[in-house]
Symmetry: C2
Subunit: 215 residues, 2 copies
Amino acid sequence: MGNPEHIDGLSTLNRDNRSVRKILLAAARAFGRSGYRGTSMQQIADRAGVSKSLVHYHFDSKEHLFLEVQLELLRELLSYVRELTRSGARRSPAQFEQAIEEARDFVVRDLEHIRVMLEFHNVARDNARIAGHVATFQSELMAMVVEGIHNVLGPSMLERLVIPPERVARLLLQILNGLIVDLAYAQGDEAVQRVHETFSDVRALITQALFNPLS
Amino acid sequence: MGNPEHIDGLSTLNRDNRSVRKILLAAARAFGRSGYRGTSMQQIADRAGVSKSLVHYHFDSKEHLFLEVQLELLRELLSYVRELTRSGARRSPAQFEQAIEEARDFVVRDLEHIRVMLEFHNVARDNARIAGHVATFQSELMAMVVEGIHNVLGPSMLERLVIPPERVARLLLQILNGLIVDLAYAQGDEAVQRVHETFSDVRALITQALFNPLS
DNA sequence: TTGTTTGTACTGACCGGTCAGTCCAAAGTG
DNA sequence: CACTTTGGACTGACCGGTCAGTACAAACAA
């Protein structure tokens, strides 16, 4: 990745600083809940328990803060996907399904955080710098999922895929986007439960059709 | 639906008025592109070629305008789904796939408009009135898709579904949400083309696994 | 025919308020 | 000393919304 925080001429950011971490966390949640424009620097400062001045002290601008939030989310996702697909011992469609299920659990657990992704394209549309970062974000995530598919399936199962791994990766990301949107809409526990049921249907049907039978 | 524009004590809206139609169209596109908070009344007025005052003359508030945009989108979706699934002559998985493909084309064609849906939950989160309308929107759309599935498949094919029609409807809406998000991210023609390919994969795999073989 | 009234569409100027961002003096901290 | 943190005052831009007033055509009255 090569020190992405040093490009674009942004000032260096001390990520180990406790306040910086608090601000990043508060900002991620606030952006996820209310969107980029719907979140004020004051709200972020309040939720982080620091002064507004300090936020401006650590981050050049709101755009910079958003960028760093984005960057951290990418790091989290990458490290999670790496961890999830590290072991090379799973070699069946059922294990593949389980990996998808675990990915879903990850999304649900960090939903407030991950929802920021739905905001990326809105901000990117009138901000070239952020648009570039979104593109990087997407391609790095895609590469990581492809690698994860290789790790989870191994060469033997990989041969049985009816479409190439790259297309499987794109497919997984697309249905996960659908899950995120549906969850954003769902209000109340039964609604969330129904969304989970729906995603399980998607997962089961796709897995079933994704592998050629053993010849 | 019963004259939805008369509920909530909103002033009646002359939908035949040329300016009103221009404003609604401009607002739908602007909300779809930049989100609710990212769109100002001034921008909408400019794009509609009218004064900001006129927008406030026809619509009580920004919230009211958003509500009317939502209402019109619901009308369009309902009438489109009705039209798409009217004929009862299709009775094969291939025809089912084609109906999904047509729905995709509809989404792509009106994407700028439909993208507003991604914004609904953001606005609804801190606006009870809009939250109620979103819930109505969702349930009416769901009912319409279920009815459409019945029409497209007919009793014979309906029996072969491995999950009930209601779950199929939720599944379709979820993967369409994924499509909309992916399209929102896609920049450039090849990117859009790749998203289409991905959605085709989803559609094909799901359709393949969705029907029991003829016994 | 001429004048009056009424209703609708529409506008520019303006108001109160919010927001991102700046500046700075002061205080704590390692 | 250098770094971090606070709080407060301030600016310029923008935003949603209001308001007085214009334009105009149809209906009505003399």
